[in-house]
Amino acid sequence: MNVFHFRRPAETSLAMQFASALMKVFGFSLLISVLVSVQAQADAPTIRLFPTTVVEDLRQTSAVAKEMETGLQEVIGRLDQQQLLYQQSKCDGAESDPGCQRLAKQLGATYLDMLGIMEERLPDMEHTVNNTRLSLEKRLRSELGNKMTSWTLQETLLGGKSESADAATPRMRGRSGMRLSERFRQYYKLVASSSSQSDQSLAVLASDIYLDMEETSVLIARTREEIARATLIEQLNQSLGTITPEMMEVVGGVKSILFGDDTGPVLIAGPPPGNFEKDYRSPLEN
Protein backbone atom coordinates (compact mmCIF):
# COMPACT_ATOMS: atom_id res chain seq x y z
CA MET A 1 0.00 0.00 0.00
CA ASN A 2 1.31 3.38 -0.94
CA VAL A 3 1.14 5.66 2.05
CA PHE A 4 3.00 8.51 0.34
CA HIS A 5 -0.23 10.25 -0.51
CA PHE A 6 -1.62 10.50 3.00
CA ARG A 7 -0.66 14.07 3.72
CA ARG A 8 -1.43 17.05 1.57
CA PRO A 9 1.43 19.43 0.69
CA ALA A 10 -0.49 22.23 2.42
CA GLU A 11 0.29 20.67 5.78
CA THR A 12 3.97 20.76 5.07
CA SER A 13 4.00 24.39 4.16
CA LEU A 14 1.87 25.22 7.16
CA ALA A 15 4.29 23.60 9.58
CA MET A 16 7.23 25.29 7.90
CA GLN A 17 5.48 28.63 7.85
CA PHE A 18 4.69 28.28 11.48
CA ALA A 19 8.27 27.44 12.42
CA SER A 20 9.40 30.42 10.39
CA ALA A 21 6.87 32.67 12.09
CA LEU A 22 8.02 31.40 15.45
CA MET A 23 11.59 32.38 14.74
CA LYS A 24 10.40 35.72 13.51
CA VAL A 25 8.50 36.42 16.72
CA PHE A 26 11.54 35.53 18.76
CA GLY A 27 13.79 37.70 16.59
CA PHE A 28 11.49 40.66 16.73
CA SER A 29 11.16 40.40 20.48
CA LEU A 30 14.91 40.51 20.93
CA LEU A 31 15.22 43.37 18.50
CA ILE A 32 12.62 45.41 20.28
CA SER A 33 14.30 44.90 23.64
CA VAL A 34 17.53 46.30 22.20
CA LEU A 35 15.74 49.02 20.31
CA VAL A 36 13.92 50.25 23.32
CA SER A 37 17.08 50.45 25.37
CA VAL A 38 18.68 52.47 22.57
CA GLN A 39 15.60 54.62 22.31
CA ALA A 40 15.65 55.31 26.01
CA GLN A 41 19.15 56.68 25.69
CA ALA A 42 18.25 58.97 22.82
CA ASP A 43 16.07 62.04 23.00
CA ALA A 44 12.46 61.52 23.94
CA PRO A 45 10.58 60.38 20.85
CA THR A 46 7.72 62.40 19.52
CA ILE A 47 5.69 59.29 18.81
CA ARG A 48 5.28 56.54 21.35
CA LEU A 49 5.00 53.29 19.45
CA PHE A 50 6.87 51.11 21.92
CA PRO A 51 5.81 51.98 25.46
CA THR A 52 6.61 49.67 28.38
CA THR A 53 3.48 47.58 27.93
CA VAL A 54 4.34 46.69 24.35
CA VAL A 55 7.91 45.89 25.33
CA GLU A 56 6.69 43.71 28.17
CA ASP A 57 4.36 41.83 25.82
CA LEU A 58 7.22 41.30 23.42
CA ARG A 59 9.49 40.05 26.18
CA GLN A 60 6.88 37.54 27.22
CA THR A 61 6.40 36.42 23.63
CA SER A 62 10.13 36.08 23.35
CA ALA A 63 10.29 33.85 26.44
CA VAL A 64 7.49 31.59 25.25
CA ALA A 65 8.96 31.40 21.75
CA LYS A 66 12.34 30.52 23.16
CA GLU A 67 10.90 27.70 25.26
CA MET A 68 9.23 26.30 22.20
CA GLU A 69 12.36 26.75 20.13
CA THR A 70 14.43 24.87 22.71
CA GLY A 71 11.95 22.03 22.82
CA LEU A 72 11.83 21.79 19.05
CA GLN A 73 15.58 21.91 18.68
CA GLU A 74 16.00 18.90 20.92
CA VAL A 75 13.40 16.83 19.14
CA ILE A 76 14.69 17.89 15.74
CA GLY A 77 18.18 16.83 16.74
CA ARG A 78 16.78 13.43 17.57
CA LEU A 79 14.92 13.26 14.26
CA ASP A 80 18.10 14.16 12.45
CA GLN A 81 20.00 11.31 14.01
CA GLN A 82 17.21 8.86 13.33
CA GLN A 83 16.92 9.94 9.73
CA LEU A 84 20.67 9.55 9.27
CA LEU A 85 20.54 6.06 10.71
CA TYR A 86 17.61 5.24 8.42
CA GLN A 87 19.56 6.39 5.36
CA GLN A 88 22.80 4.73 6.42
CA SER A 89 20.90 1.50 6.90
CA LYS A 90 19.84 1.81 3.25
CA CYS A 91 16.19 1.60 4.19
CA ASP A 92 15.05 3.64 1.18
CA GLY A 93 13.45 1.08 -1.06
CA ALA A 94 13.61 -1.58 1.64
CA GLU A 95 10.58 -0.54 3.64
CA SER A 96 9.41 -4.12 4.14
CA ASP A 97 12.58 -4.97 6.04
CA PRO A 98 11.68 -5.48 9.74
CA GLY A 99 14.69 -3.46 10.94
CA CYS A 100 13.77 -0.56 8.67
CA GLN A 101 10.16 -0.73 9.81
CA ARG A 102 11.35 -0.41 13.41
CA LEU A 103 13.48 2.62 12.50
CA ALA A 104 10.57 4.15 10.64
CA LYS A 105 8.33 3.73 13.66
CA GLN A 106 10.91 5.39 15.88
CA LEU A 107 11.14 8.28 13.45
CA GLY A 108 7.38 8.59 13.35
CA ALA A 109 7.23 8.56 17.14
CA THR A 110 9.73 11.41 17.33
CA TYR A 111 7.73 13.27 14.74
CA LEU A 112 4.69 12.80 16.96
CA ASP A 113 6.72 14.21 19.84
CA MET A 114 7.39 17.30 17.76
CA LEU A 115 3.68 17.70 17.07
CA GLY A 116 3.03 17.17 20.77
CA ILE A 117 5.43 19.94 21.79
CA MET A 118 3.81 22.28 19.33
CA GLU A 119 0.37 21.36 20.56
CA GLU A 120 1.39 21.92 24.15
CA ARG A 121 3.10 25.27 23.61
CA LEU A 122 0.81 26.77 21.03
CA PRO A 123 -1.92 28.06 23.36
CA ASP A 124 0.68 30.11 25.29
CA MET A 125 2.20 31.32 22.06
CA GLU A 126 -1.17 32.27 20.69
CA HIS A 127 -1.99 34.18 23.85
CA THR A 128 1.24 36.19 23.99
CA VAL A 129 1.35 36.86 20.25
CA ASN A 130 -2.20 38.14 20.39
CA ASN A 131 -1.37 40.36 23.37
CA THR A 132 1.55 41.87 21.50
CA ARG A 133 -0.46 42.30 18.36
CA LEU A 134 -3.24 44.05 20.24
CA SER A 135 -0.83 46.36 22.08
CA LEU A 136 0.84 47.36 18.83
CA GLU A 137 -2.50 47.73 17.14
CA LYS A 138 -3.60 50.21 19.77
CA ARG A 139 -0.38 52.25 19.50
CA LEU A 140 -0.47 52.31 15.71
CA ARG A 141 -4.08 53.41 15.69
CA SER A 142 -3.47 56.12 18.22
CA GLU A 143 -0.05 57.43 17.16
CA LEU A 144 -0.08 57.02 13.39
CA GLY A 145 -3.80 56.66 12.66
CA ASN A 146 -5.45 59.31 14.79
CA LYS A 147 -2.67 61.77 15.56
CA MET A 148 -1.23 62.06 12.07
CA THR A 149 -2.30 63.10 8.60
CA SER A 150 -0.81 61.41 5.53
CA TRP A 151 1.44 64.46 5.16
CA THR A 152 2.81 64.35 8.71
CA LEU A 153 3.23 60.60 8.38
CA GLN A 154 5.28 61.18 5.25
CA GLU A 155 7.43 63.72 7.07
CA THR A 156 7.91 61.27 9.93
CA LEU A 157 9.01 58.55 7.55
CA LEU A 158 11.33 60.88 5.70
CA GLY A 159 12.73 62.22 8.96
CA GLY A 160 16.13 63.83 8.66
CA LYS A 161 17.08 61.60 5.78
CA SER A 162 15.72 63.79 3.04
CA GLU A 163 18.98 65.70 2.72
CA SER A 164 21.38 62.80 2.76
CA ALA A 165 21.99 59.74 0.68
CA ASP A 166 20.15 56.92 2.29
CA ALA A 167 22.04 54.14 3.98
CA ALA A 168 20.97 50.69 2.90
CA THR A 169 18.63 49.38 5.54
CA PRO A 170 17.23 45.90 5.35
CA ARG A 171 13.73 45.40 4.11
CA MET A 172 11.82 43.94 6.95
CA ARG A 173 9.02 42.05 5.30
CA GLY A 174 9.28 38.65 3.79
CA ARG A 175 12.14 37.44 5.93
CA SER A 176 10.95 33.87 5.98
CA GLY A 177 13.64 31.59 4.71
CA MET A 178 16.51 33.84 5.69
CA ARG A 179 19.14 32.27 7.88
CA LEU A 180 18.53 32.98 11.53
CA SER A 181 22.05 34.24 12.10
CA GLU A 182 21.75 36.51 9.06
CA ARG A 183 18.49 37.89 10.38
CA PHE A 184 20.09 38.72 13.71
CA ARG A 185 23.07 40.23 11.99
CA GLN A 186 20.72 42.54 10.09
CA TYR A 187 18.83 43.37 13.26
CA TYR A 188 22.09 44.28 14.86
CA LYS A 189 23.05 46.45 11.90
CA LEU A 190 19.69 48.13 12.03
CA VAL A 191 20.07 48.96 15.70
CA ALA A 192 23.76 49.80 15.56
CA SER A 193 23.39 52.12 12.59
CA SER A 194 20.66 54.04 14.31
CA SER A 195 22.08 55.27 17.58
CA SER A 196 19.65 58.14 17.15
CA GLN A 197 16.92 55.67 16.23
CA SER A 198 14.27 58.04 15.05
CA ASP A 199 10.59 57.99 14.51
CA GLN A 200 10.74 57.07 10.86
CA SER A 201 12.46 53.75 11.57
CA LEU A 202 10.23 53.03 14.53
CA ALA A 203 7.11 53.62 12.47
CA VAL A 204 8.28 51.19 9.81
CA LEU A 205 9.44 48.69 12.42
CA ALA A 206 6.20 48.85 14.38
CA SER A 207 4.19 48.39 11.19
CA ASP A 208 6.32 45.49 10.12
CA ILE A 209 6.10 43.71 13.44
CA TYR A 210 2.38 44.29 13.67
CA LEU A 211 1.69 42.84 10.22
CA ASP A 212 3.93 39.88 10.99
CA MET A 213 2.12 39.31 14.27
CA GLU A 214 -1.13 39.31 12.35
CA GLU A 215 0.15 36.64 10.01
CA THR A 216 1.60 34.68 12.92
CA SER A 217 -1.72 34.75 14.76
CA VAL A 218 -3.48 33.35 11.73
CA LEU A 219 -0.82 30.69 11.27
CA ILE A 220 -0.98 29.62 14.91
CA ALA A 221 -4.74 29.30 14.73
CA ARG A 222 -4.49 27.25 11.52
CA THR A 223 -1.70 25.11 12.91
CA ARG A 224 -3.68 24.32 16.04
CA GLU A 225 -6.57 23.22 13.87
CA GLU A 226 -4.30 20.99 11.79
CA ILE A 227 -2.24 19.37 14.55
CA ALA A 228 -4.95 16.99 15.68
CA ARG A 229 -5.47 15.77 12.15
CA ALA A 230 -1.74 15.48 11.46
CA THR A 231 -1.30 13.52 14.69
CA LEU A 232 -4.06 11.12 13.74
CA ILE A 233 -2.53 10.51 10.31
CA GLU A 234 0.89 9.98 11.80
CA GLN A 235 -0.57 7.50 14.26
CA LEU A 236 -1.97 5.63 11.26
CA ASN A 237 1.45 5.74 9.61
CA GLN A 238 2.92 4.38 12.83
CA SER A 239 0.76 1.31 12.55
CA LEU A 240 2.06 0.88 8.99
CA GLY A 241 5.66 1.63 9.96
CA THR A 242 6.30 3.92 7.03
CA ILE A 243 7.92 7.31 6.69
CA THR A 244 6.21 9.77 4.44
CA PRO A 245 8.37 12.11 2.37
CA GLU A 246 6.27 15.02 3.62
CA MET A 247 7.32 14.23 7.17
CA MET A 248 10.96 14.44 6.14
CA GLU A 249 10.26 17.67 4.32
CA VAL A 250 8.74 19.24 7.43
CA VAL A 251 11.68 18.21 9.53
CA GLY A 252 14.09 19.53 6.89
CA GLY A 253 12.26 22.83 6.74
CA VAL A 254 12.25 23.33 10.49
CA LYS A 255 15.93 22.37 10.67
CA SER A 256 16.92 24.85 8.02
CA ILE A 257 15.22 27.60 9.95
CA LEU A 258 16.72 26.66 13.30
CA PHE A 259 20.23 25.83 12.17
CA GLY A 260 20.48 28.21 9.27
CA ASP A 261 21.43 25.86 6.46
CA ASP A 262 18.86 27.40 4.22
CA THR A 263 19.87 28.68 0.82
CA GLY A 264 18.07 31.97 0.80
CA PRO A 265 17.11 33.97 -2.26
CA VAL A 266 19.95 35.49 -4.24
CA LEU A 267 20.49 39.05 -3.15
CA ILE A 268 20.02 41.65 -5.85
CA ALA A 269 22.51 44.46 -6.01
CA GLY A 270 21.32 47.85 -4.80
CA PRO A 271 20.90 50.85 -7.04
CA PRO A 272 24.01 52.70 -8.24
CA PRO A 273 25.18 55.49 -5.96
CA GLY A 274 23.39 58.72 -6.58
CA ASN A 275 24.75 62.03 -7.66
CA PHE A 276 26.48 63.45 -4.63
CA GLU A 277 26.78 66.96 -5.98
CA LYS A 278 25.38 69.52 -3.61
CA ASP A 279 21.66 69.37 -4.16
CA TYR A 280 19.93 72.46 -5.38
CA ARG A 281 17.23 73.56 -2.96
CA SER A 282 14.34 75.48 -4.49
CA PRO A 283 12.42 78.11 -2.54
CA LEU A 284 9.33 76.21 -3.76
CA GLU A 285 10.20 73.03 -1.84
CA ASN A 286 7.88 72.00 0.96
Binding site: L136, E137, K138, L140, R141, L144, G145, N146, K147, M148, T149, S150, W151, L153, Q154, E155, L157, L158, K161, S162, A165, D166, R171, M172, R173, Q200, A203, V204, A206, S207, D208, Y210, L211, E214, P271, P272, P273, G274, N275, F276, E277, D279, Y280, S282, P283, L284, E285, N286
Partner: protein, 181 residues
Protein backbone atom coordinates in the same frame (compact mmCIF):
# COMPACT_ATOMS: atom_id res chain seq x y z
CA UNK B 1 -10.81 116.13 -59.93
CA UNK B 2 -7.25 115.13 -59.21
CA UNK B 3 -7.62 116.42 -55.66
CA UNK B 4 -10.81 114.36 -55.17
CA UNK B 5 -9.07 111.22 -56.39
CA UNK B 6 -6.08 111.62 -54.09
CA UNK B 7 -8.33 112.34 -51.07
CA UNK B 8 -10.40 109.26 -51.77
CA UNK B 9 -7.21 107.20 -52.16
CA UNK B 10 -5.89 108.33 -48.81
CA UNK B 11 -9.24 107.67 -47.19
CA UNK B 12 -9.39 104.15 -48.62
CA UNK B 13 -5.89 103.33 -47.50
CA UNK B 14 -6.65 104.62 -43.97
CA UNK B 15 -9.79 102.46 -43.83
CA UNK B 16 -7.88 99.44 -45.14
CA UNK B 17 -5.11 99.94 -42.58
CA UNK B 18 -7.69 100.29 -39.83
CA UNK B 19 -9.35 97.06 -40.89
CA UNK B 20 -6.05 95.22 -40.97
CA UNK B 21 -5.07 96.53 -37.54
CA UNK B 22 -8.43 95.69 -36.00
CA UNK B 23 -8.32 92.18 -37.41
CA UNK B 24 -4.83 91.72 -35.89
CA UNK B 25 -6.00 92.78 -32.46
CA UNK B 26 -8.91 90.34 -32.34
CA UNK B 27 -7.17 87.19 -33.65
CA UNK B 28 -5.72 84.90 -30.94
CA UNK B 29 -1.95 84.61 -30.55
CA UNK B 30 -0.44 81.48 -32.16
CA UNK B 31 0.51 79.92 -28.77
CA UNK B 32 2.98 77.55 -30.34
CA UNK B 33 5.23 75.50 -28.10
CA UNK B 34 8.94 76.24 -27.80
CA UNK B 35 10.80 75.68 -31.06
CA UNK B 36 14.32 75.28 -29.67
CA UNK B 37 15.94 72.32 -27.92
CA UNK B 38 17.91 74.59 -25.59
CA UNK B 39 16.14 74.65 -22.23
CA UNK B 40 16.88 78.23 -21.21
CA UNK B 41 15.91 79.53 -24.68
CA UNK B 42 12.80 77.36 -24.64
CA UNK B 43 11.83 78.81 -21.28
CA UNK B 44 12.30 82.27 -22.72
CA UNK B 45 9.95 81.37 -25.63
CA UNK B 46 7.39 80.03 -23.19
CA UNK B 47 7.60 83.15 -21.03
CA UNK B 48 6.89 85.25 -24.12
CA UNK B 49 3.94 83.09 -25.07
CA UNK B 50 2.55 83.15 -21.54
CA UNK B 51 2.74 86.93 -21.31
CA UNK B 52 1.08 87.15 -24.75
CA UNK B 53 -2.11 85.60 -23.46
CA UNK B 54 -1.35 81.89 -23.85
CA UNK B 55 -1.71 81.05 -20.15
CA UNK B 56 -4.28 78.36 -20.91
CA UNK B 57 -1.48 76.33 -22.46
CA UNK B 58 0.64 76.28 -19.33
CA UNK B 59 0.37 72.51 -18.79
CA UNK B 60 1.34 71.79 -22.35
CA UNK B 61 4.29 74.21 -22.23
CA UNK B 62 5.48 72.72 -18.95
CA UNK B 63 5.42 69.26 -20.47
CA UNK B 64 7.30 70.54 -23.53
CA UNK B 65 9.95 72.02 -21.25
CA UNK B 66 10.29 68.76 -19.34
CA UNK B 67 10.74 66.88 -22.60
CA UNK B 68 13.38 69.34 -23.76
CA UNK B 69 15.19 69.02 -20.40
CA UNK B 70 15.20 65.23 -20.71
CA UNK B 71 17.34 65.73 -23.79
CA UNK B 72 20.02 67.44 -21.73
CA UNK B 73 19.83 66.11 -18.17
CA UNK B 74 21.90 67.90 -15.53
CA UNK B 75 21.53 68.93 -11.88
CA UNK B 76 21.09 72.64 -12.63
CA UNK B 77 17.88 71.92 -14.54
CA UNK B 78 16.17 71.86 -11.15
CA UNK B 79 17.13 75.46 -10.58
CA UNK B 80 15.94 76.51 -14.05
CA UNK B 81 12.53 74.95 -13.45
CA UNK B 82 12.32 76.49 -10.00
CA UNK B 83 13.10 79.95 -11.39
CA UNK B 84 10.60 79.49 -14.19
CA UNK B 85 7.86 78.53 -11.71
CA UNK B 86 8.71 81.37 -9.35
CA UNK B 87 8.46 83.74 -12.34
CA UNK B 88 5.09 82.19 -13.28
CA UNK B 89 3.88 82.78 -9.77
CA UNK B 90 5.19 86.36 -9.66
CA UNK B 91 3.44 87.08 -12.97
CA UNK B 92 0.17 85.76 -11.57
CA UNK B 93 0.02 82.91 -14.08
CA UNK B 94 0.10 80.37 -11.24
CA UNK B 95 -0.75 80.83 -7.61
CA UNK B 96 1.82 79.98 -4.96
CA UNK B 97 0.39 76.56 -4.27
CA UNK B 98 0.24 75.61 -7.93
CA UNK B 99 3.84 76.68 -8.41
CA UNK B 100 4.92 74.60 -5.40
CA UNK B 101 2.99 71.58 -6.62
CA UNK B 102 4.41 71.82 -10.16
CA UNK B 103 7.90 71.89 -8.71
CA UNK B 104 7.56 69.32 -5.94
CA UNK B 105 5.71 66.77 -8.03
CA UNK B 106 8.75 66.42 -10.28
CA UNK B 107 11.77 67.63 -8.34
CA UNK B 108 11.20 66.88 -4.65
CA UNK B 109 11.31 63.61 -2.74
CA UNK B 110 8.10 64.36 -0.86
CA UNK B 111 4.79 63.40 -2.40
CA UNK B 112 2.36 66.26 -3.02
CA UNK B 113 -0.38 63.68 -3.42
CA UNK B 114 -0.19 63.07 0.33
CA UNK B 115 -1.41 66.55 1.21
CA UNK B 116 -4.27 66.27 3.68
CA UNK B 117 -5.69 68.09 6.65
CA UNK B 118 -7.39 65.13 8.30
CA UNK B 119 -6.13 62.15 10.22
CA UNK B 120 -5.22 58.87 8.60
CA UNK B 121 -7.91 56.73 10.23
CA UNK B 122 -10.74 58.95 9.09
CA UNK B 123 -9.43 60.26 5.78
CA UNK B 124 -6.52 58.33 4.27
CA UNK B 125 -7.54 54.77 5.14
CA UNK B 126 -10.97 54.81 3.49
CA UNK B 127 -9.27 55.80 0.22
CA UNK B 128 -5.95 54.05 0.66
CA UNK B 129 -6.01 52.41 -2.78
CA UNK B 130 -6.56 55.76 -4.43
CA UNK B 131 -3.81 57.37 -2.37
CA UNK B 132 -1.36 54.64 -3.34
CA UNK B 133 -2.33 54.94 -7.00
CA UNK B 134 -1.77 58.72 -6.90
CA UNK B 135 1.59 58.16 -5.24
CA UNK B 136 2.54 55.64 -7.89
CA UNK B 137 1.74 58.12 -10.64
CA UNK B 138 3.67 60.82 -8.85
CA UNK B 139 6.61 58.47 -8.48
CA UNK B 140 6.67 58.18 -12.27
CA UNK B 141 6.82 61.98 -12.52
CA UNK B 142 9.60 62.03 -9.93
CA UNK B 143 11.52 59.53 -11.98
CA UNK B 144 11.24 61.96 -14.87
CA UNK B 145 12.12 65.07 -12.85
CA UNK B 146 14.75 63.70 -10.50
CA UNK B 147 16.36 60.94 -12.50
CA UNK B 148 15.88 61.77 -16.18
CA UNK B 149 16.08 65.54 -15.97
CA UNK B 150 18.22 66.38 -12.92
CA UNK B 151 20.35 63.23 -12.72
CA UNK B 152 19.48 63.06 -9.04
CA UNK B 153 19.24 59.29 -8.79
CA UNK B 154 19.69 59.27 -5.00
CA UNK B 155 16.71 61.61 -4.70
CA UNK B 156 14.63 59.31 -6.83
CA UNK B 157 15.62 56.23 -4.83
CA UNK B 158 14.67 58.05 -1.62
CA UNK B 159 11.27 58.79 -3.12
CA UNK B 160 10.90 55.16 -4.17
CA UNK B 161 11.82 53.97 -0.67
CA UNK B 162 9.43 56.46 0.85
CA UNK B 163 6.69 55.04 -1.39
CA UNK B 164 7.42 51.50 -0.19
CA UNK B 165 7.57 52.51 3.47
CA UNK B 166 4.36 54.47 3.15
CA UNK B 167 2.68 51.42 1.63
CA UNK B 168 3.80 49.23 4.55
CA UNK B 169 2.98 51.75 7.29
CA UNK B 170 -0.41 52.57 5.80
CA UNK B 171 -1.25 48.88 5.54
CA UNK B 172 -0.48 48.38 9.22
CA UNK B 173 -2.07 51.63 10.36
CA UNK B 174 -5.23 51.10 8.38
CA UNK B 175 -5.53 47.50 9.64
CA UNK B 176 -5.21 48.85 13.17
CA UNK B 177 -7.75 51.60 12.47
CA UNK B 178 -10.24 49.07 11.03
CA UNK B 179 -9.79 46.77 14.04
CA UNK B 180 -10.66 49.64 16.38
CA UNK B 181 -14.04 50.35 14.81
Amino acid sequence: MILFKSTAGVLLSVIASGLILSSCASSPPPCDGPQTKLLSAAMSDVRNSLTSGCTAYFDSYYDDLLTIAEGDPKPENKRLFSEFLVWSSDEGILNQRQARDYYNRYFNVKFVSLQSDYNNCSHTCPRRDRVMLDMERELTDKERGLMKISRDSSGYYRADKLYQEMELVLEATCTACAAGR
